[in-house]
Amino acid sequence: MLRGNESVAYAFKLARIDVFPMFPITPSTLVPERISKFIADGELDAEFIPLESEHSAISAAIGASLKGARVGTATASQGLALMHEILFIASGMRLPIVMGIGNRALSAPINIWCDHQDTMAERDAGWLQFYAESNQEGLDLILMAFKISEDKRVLLPSMVGLDAFVLTHTMEPVDVPEQEEIDEFIGKKKPEYLTLDANNPATFGAFGSPSHYMEFKYAQYLAMKNASVVIDEVFSEFTSKFGRKYSKINEEMMDDADIVFITLGSCTGTAREFIKMKRKEGKKIGLLKITVFRPFPKEEIRKALKGKKVVAVIDRNISFGFGGAVYGEVAAAMNGMDESPKIVDFIVGLGGRDITFNTFEEVLSIAEKAMNEEVDEINWIDVDKEAVEKEEII
């Protein structure tokens, strides 16, 4: 039995990280605590750097990775936001750093509970993004992230999101692979990139003028495209070695579905049980879980949603002035598709508000209404709208 944070820590240990830069933040602090203990007990031979901020933690990660080290770190929320500037530099310098995120709301008001605002705000940072439904997925995805990120066709950093508290602090049964199995699966890190080397001096992070900058960005764009292929390869190799199946999107009960719920992360379990219950009542609902958000699995989603009537996107984030981030991406993926389903957005579970069957009842009733008539594009669920509207001038 492991907490989600322990899954991340065990994955880092199994990956034999060389350097672990860190700064504590709720809800991911248990990751560095466990790593510290692994090192103290002699179970992990890694350098632990307790930095004075997350900004410095990710900066140290860049330094270590550039020296050829395998680097893992963990953060959440404000910590990830503080890293923002440097996230783009890690990906721009093509360094395969892997980071565990305890997905948590952003201030203000300050809130330590789950939503996906922190990682969604970084979706353009050039990192691969994975979202775990369970602690097992958290462990597996961190391990696979190293293999994917370090692939010379990719060389981009990865972040793996585990929902705050719901996963980070909750015990679940987790199958922890044997060290030898992981050594064989990931292998020792041989940097497939230039490193800081006195025998082969190179200049990193140079000044890129308008005549060169765009080519660097195009290279990153291609690397993300490559990542899409490499992810499929690594997921399928993982399945053949460890038995657990992974795919960028996970489709369940989709064959005859008219309405599809799209989820990320831990609320997928609640949605699954809800849909199973409703199916007994004869409702044709399907479930599509997005595990890989960057690179965004456009093709897979287009294929999965073809011929569906209504898609209910469960967004645990809000892009103010637009709607949910996942909604925007799913809608864009449908661009130009014949008979695109009606796509409806649901803003739910911000700042740790529970996502329950009642939440999904409301989602379903709006989605069913959307089968035959117009409904609002963006729907906030489980929120006391009257209380707010009374105060705000509308």
């Binding site: 004075e52 330094g63 080290a69 000044f207």
Partner: protein
């Protein structure tokens, strides 16, 4: 010697800028097995425009405020791999005294084996002469403008960065001035030998920002120390400051000011006040 320089010419630093000379002499002493972390600033921008570089040692720039943190990561990786080598950060006064202070403080407190060099031209010169925490009292900059309501310019005293780092009990802290080459060389050599966090505060003339004759960079720097404005000292593990050069006869601060138009607005009263501040410092540090 010339063939051995690890910092190549042909870069875009301003005429008369002293930073390239500072860097090449430090690298000459440090040698080839040196890893440089450079904060955003003139030095980084003007020496690495892709696909050219002036650096013949491994060099990395990440951002403005975090060289000390990047260096911490490099050092940790080298420790893990059992590698030996020098890690040197080069950062300006803005990247050190202001935006990089936190990362530097953390690096020193954690005891990383890194030499951090602050090249201090006393303002944000790369962005166009804006005041920094290291801008001295009375200096004109584009953000400490001089006018009827403010005839002085910068109203705050210079932040004592080297003292702050010494207070961390850093392994070695020294102020250096290329115009006093033997003192400079001795201190850099010492800094390369000592293990742990080390900090050098180097004064460098910026002819552009100091509104000075580009041919007088070293002369101005010599006056900075001869007038007592930029004292040369060193300190180990937070111990007592040791003055390494005590002018036999101090020159008046006015001589330093008159070569730089950034001070030309100062009235005799203000110059006298600055002179008193300098005199007081030396009185407090008399043998």
């Amino acid at each position: 010697m010339k063939d051995e320089w690890l910092f190549a010419p042909g870069h875009g630093m301003c005429a008369g800028c002293v930073v390239p000379a500072l860097v090449k002499h430090i690298l000459a002493i440090a040698g080839k097995n040196t890893f440089v972390v450079n904060s955003t600033g003139c030095l980084e921008v003007a020496t690495t425009e892709y696909p050219r570089t002036s650096w013949k040692v491994p060099w990395v720039h990440v951002a403005f405020e975090n060289s000390a943190a990047v260096a911490s990561g490099i050092e940790a990786a080298m420790k893990k791999f059992g590698e030996e080598g020098n890690i040197i950060c080069f950062a300006g006064d803005g990247g050190t005294a202001d935006i990089g202070m936190q990362a530097l403080s953390g690096m020193v407190e954690r005891g990383h084996d890194v030499l951090y060099v602050m090249y201090d031209n006393e303002a944000y010169m790369n962005t166009g002469i804006q005041r920094s925490g290291a801008t001295p009292y009375g200096a004109w900059t584009t953000t400490s403008e001089v006018g009827k309501a403010n005839p002085i310019g910068n109203l705050r005293p210079k932040k004592p960065v080297a003292d702050i780092i010494a207070a961390h009990k850093a392994a070695y802290v020294a102020t250096v001035n290329l115009a006093f080459f033997q003192d400079f060389k001795k201190k850099v050599e010492k800094a390369m030998k000592v293990k742990g966090p080390r900090f050098l505060h180097a004064i460098v003339t910026c002819p552009t920002g100091w509104r000075a004759d580009p041919s007088k960079g070293i002369e101005i720097m010599r006056l900075a120390t001869e007038t007592g404005i930029f004292p040369l000292w060193e300190n180990e593990n937070g111990g007592k400051k040791r003055i390494t050069y005590r002018p036999k006869k101090f020159k008046p601060v006015k001589e330093y000011f008159k070569l730089q138009s950034r001070f030309r607005h100062l009235s005799d009263d203000i110059i006298e006040k600055i002179q008193e501040d300098v005199d007081r410092w030396w009185k407090e540090h008399s043998e």
